[in-house]
């Protein structure tokens, strides 16, 4: 293949993944994107300028060697590209789908400054999917056994990453998951139409092939405490128990029937497969009009889930506006295409119930944007007297998650801050308890999959150092 010069590369437009038609996809729960064909992937890969000092690598929380894997795709070496990514990222099929690329690698892409950035996320996903669907997944060689045992609490992105890294260093790793399916938020939170569960399943299988022991139905803090695990042969522990505590809004009527936390709404759908009720036993309520509150990915996942349950009017009600939404750009576009009705600069003030205790409406108040707040975004301020009622028979609250208190409550020597997040040393994952490390949302509050994975990588290095030191004593 002839190598293109810079001018020729810049002429190629950004390629689009094939995707399900919006009208068709709101009738099913299957994945929206079909992904790149090999030809599209190779064409897109040629847009990369292969910068000698690539800002995209620095923009990636786990520093994937982006130009290297992209040039392998351009050469048609798809499996090699996947292996290249896996040197730094053990879950590429997932990251390619759920990372906010526009804020990370693609956000700093050189050609994105004038035009559109290279579709790095799409290419990552393509390479990982190629490797998986072509049966070319091989297990890398592991370091010789160190005889050390590590307990990993939670099988979300942080836990899966730390487990994968540690097992390759020769340690023995057990991952404890409270639910009956591993994956944490990837299993219960992110919908099938965005992250098919068989992909998560094969990522977990890969870890098992590496030798990681994944134990489900085990609630650390209840079934056994961290202390008990450390006393029963584990040399260190990593806590990646996530932000699994729903935040409600403390407004009247929140306990009416038909008012869900996003965690409940998504868990019923994704983990329990209530979209297949009554074949599956877990039910979920459906309604003609549904309101989802919030502006993040969870809100977007909830409102698009509602649409797929046949909701006529699926409202996304957010107190700021389109520009301030923390949700991934792609999800926002997909939501728009799917007919989600966005109501911006609006916040709920109370839920109104019918005579049977079911929600029948929500009173909202209009907001205007004032001065920027601590997050740098303009603070929404209520407009006095602007209250009005929207008729809804189902509401989903997706305004954020607190940190799950189970581990801190049962491990008193792990200190937490006022929000309940575990305190770690600066630029480290070490907690206040010796031998216990933590990362992901339990430390950061609600953040992203890739940041949790970055923490997992850091923790693996620190745990390895800790064990070596401990062994040397």
């Amino acid at each position: 293949m002839a190598t293109l010069d810079k001018k020729e590369r810049l002429k190629i437009p950004r390629q689009k993944m094939l995707e399900q038609d919006p009208l068709a996809r709101i009738m099913n729960f299957e994945e929206v994107n079909f992904g790149f064909t090999p030809n599209l992937a190779m064409l897109e890969a040629q847009r990369c300028l292969l910068c000698p000092k690539p800002p995209c690598v620095a923009g990636c929380p786990v520093n994937i060697e982006i130009p290297s894997f992209i040039s392998l795709i351009a050469e048609g070496k798809f499996t090699e590209a996947a292996k290249k990514i896996k040197e730094t990222n053990s879950l590429p099929a997932i990251c390619g789908r759920v990372c906010p690329q526009e804020e990370q690698c693609e956000g700093v892409c050189v050609i994105g400054k004038k035009g559109t950035p290279v579709a790095i996320g799409h290419l990552e996903r393509f390479a990982a999917d190629w490797e998986r669907t072509h049966g070319e997944i091989t297990v890398p060689e592991k370091a010789p056994s160190t005889g050390k045992k590590i307990a990993v609490v939670g099988s979300g992105p942080a836990g899966l990453t730390v487990a994968s890294e540690l097992v390759q260093m020769g340690h023995s790793v057990t991952v404890f998951e409270a639910l009956h399916v591993p994956g944490g938020v990837l299993a219960y939170g992110i919908p099938e139409f965005r992250l098919p569960k068989d992909i998560l399943g094969s990522e977990v299988d890969y870890l098992r092939k590496l030798g990681v022991d994944v134990v489900t139905d085990f609630v650390v803090g209840k079934t056994s405490t961290i202390e008990e695990l450390l006393n029963s042969g584990y040399d260190a522990a990593f806590v990646g128990s996530g932000a699994g505590l729903p935040v409600f809004m403390s407004i009247p009527g929140e306990n009416l029937n038909g008012v869900y936390s996003a965690n409940e709404y998504l868990t019923r759908t994704n983990l329990m497969k209530s979209y297949l009720f009554p074949e599956y036993d877990t039910p979920i309520a459906k309604a003609k009009n549904v309101a989802v509150f919030g502006g993040g990915n969870t809100a977007m996942d909830s409102v698009r889930t509602a649409k797929r349950f046949g909701t006529e009017h699926a409202y996304l009600i957010y107190r700021r506006s389109w520009e301030e939404m923390p949700a991934r750009l792609e999800e926002r576009h997909h939501a728009k295409e799917e007919g989600i009705e966005f109501i911006f600069l609006t916040a709920p003030t109370r839920f109104i119930g019918d005579e049977n205790g079911w929600v029948k409406g929500v009173e909202c108040i209009k907001m205007e944007l004032g001065e920027p707040d601590a997050s740098g975004r303009r603070r929404p301020v209520p407009v006095k007297g602007s209250e009005y009622i929207i008729d809804v028979e189902l509401a989903v609250i997706a305004v954020g998650n607190g940190s799950n208190p189970l581990i801190p409550l049962t491990t008193p020597d792990i200190q937490t801050n006022k929000w309940g997040n575990i305190i770690v040393k600066e630029n480290s994952t070490a907690t206040t308890k010796s031998g216990v490390f933590a990362g992901g949302d339990i430390v950061r509050g609600g953040a992203t999959v890739i940041l949790a994975m970055g923490d997992g990588k850091t923790a693996a290095k620190e745990i390895d150092t800790y064990l070596n030191k401990k062994g040397g004593e």
Partner: protein, 278 residues
């Protein structure tokens, strides 16, 4: 998969199921529960641990067939396995020396009151238990409760066995004969717990109830089990399941238990029609 070590029917619709679950057997305390999923398509339901055996590594749950899941569970036999059992969940009962304690079990609620009653007795309390059911057929654990109580009163709503009347009538009888307990524990259907609570409130007798809202993960992650206690939203799975009865919003609890009434009925009907076919 968790194996059923032993199963026996306590009545036509109530089964006692012993499960091999060494970790849970070791760490469980009275008042705690497990979440069970019967099979791969099953829902997650909470069931209180009625008994446990650390040596054998088993826990026992007592289940009344009401909906699809409990019906499926009760049709399983010794040697079968359920897909998932996770726990122990929730806060353990507060066990202490209170003096005179009355524990009340209504219907299958008696199974939940049993381990806590046993613990109260062991802590040196004078224990009077009142167990009741709609009818004789639904009365369970009379002998077991008798063994851990200083005195036992048995009632049936229809008078088909022992005293005719409600458990509240028996409690009122005790209070009228100047037996004033230092603590009442009431576990059973919500209307029963509410009736007990209303009665003891009049006499300012501290009362604890164990709540049974709909649950999903059981670890505080989803919030479906929220219940208003003293005007504050609590999660029964992690803040409970036991609460101060006089502060519980029973009305709200009953309302939230009805969320999936239609779907529950449909599931059960489908199961029954399937059973008829096969």
């Amino acid at each position: 998969m968790t194996k059923i070590i032993k199963k026996r029917m306590l009545s036509q619709v109530i089964a006692e199921i012993e499960l091999l679950s060494p970790h849970i057997a070791k760490s469980q305390k009275p008042g705690q529960f497990v979440i069970i999923r019967v099979d791969d398509k099953g829902e997650r339901i909470p069931l209180t641990i009625a008994n446990s055996d650390k040596e054998k590594g088993t826990i026992t749950v007592i289940v009344q067939a009401i909906g699809k899941t409990t019906t499926k569970l009760n049709s399983m036999e010794t040697g079968d396995s359920v897909a998932d059992v996770v726990g122990p969940l929730g806060k353990p009962s507060h066990i202490d020396y209170f003096g005179k304690v009355v524990t009340i079990g209504g219907g299958v609620g008696t199974a939940i009151a049993w381990p806590t009653t046993r613990a109260f007795k062991k802590a040196g309390n004078e224990v009077i238990s009142i167990i009741g059911a709609r009818t004789k057929e639904l009365l369970i654990l009379e002998q077991e409760m008798r063994e851990v109580s200083d005195r036992i009163i048995v009632t049936t709503d229809d008078g088909s066995y022992a005293n005719k009347g409600f458990v509240t009538d028996s409690l009122k009888g005790l209070i009228d004969s100047t037996i004033i307990p230092n603590l009442v524990l009431a576990i059973g259907p919500v209307p029963m717990m509410r009736a007990v609570s209303e009665l003891t409130k009049k006499y300012a007798i501290p009362t604890v109830v164990s709540l049974n809202p709909i649950m999903l993960d059981g670890t505080g992650m989803c919030g479906v089990c929220r219940v208003s206690v003293a005007g504050k939203t609590m999660f029964a799975c992690v803040d409970g399941p036991e609460f101060d009865a006089h502060k519980v919003d029973f009305e709200g609890l009953m309302q939230r238990l009805k969320v999936y009434q239609k779907e529950e009925k449909l599931s059960l009907e489908l199961l029954k029609s399937w059973e008829r076919v096969s």
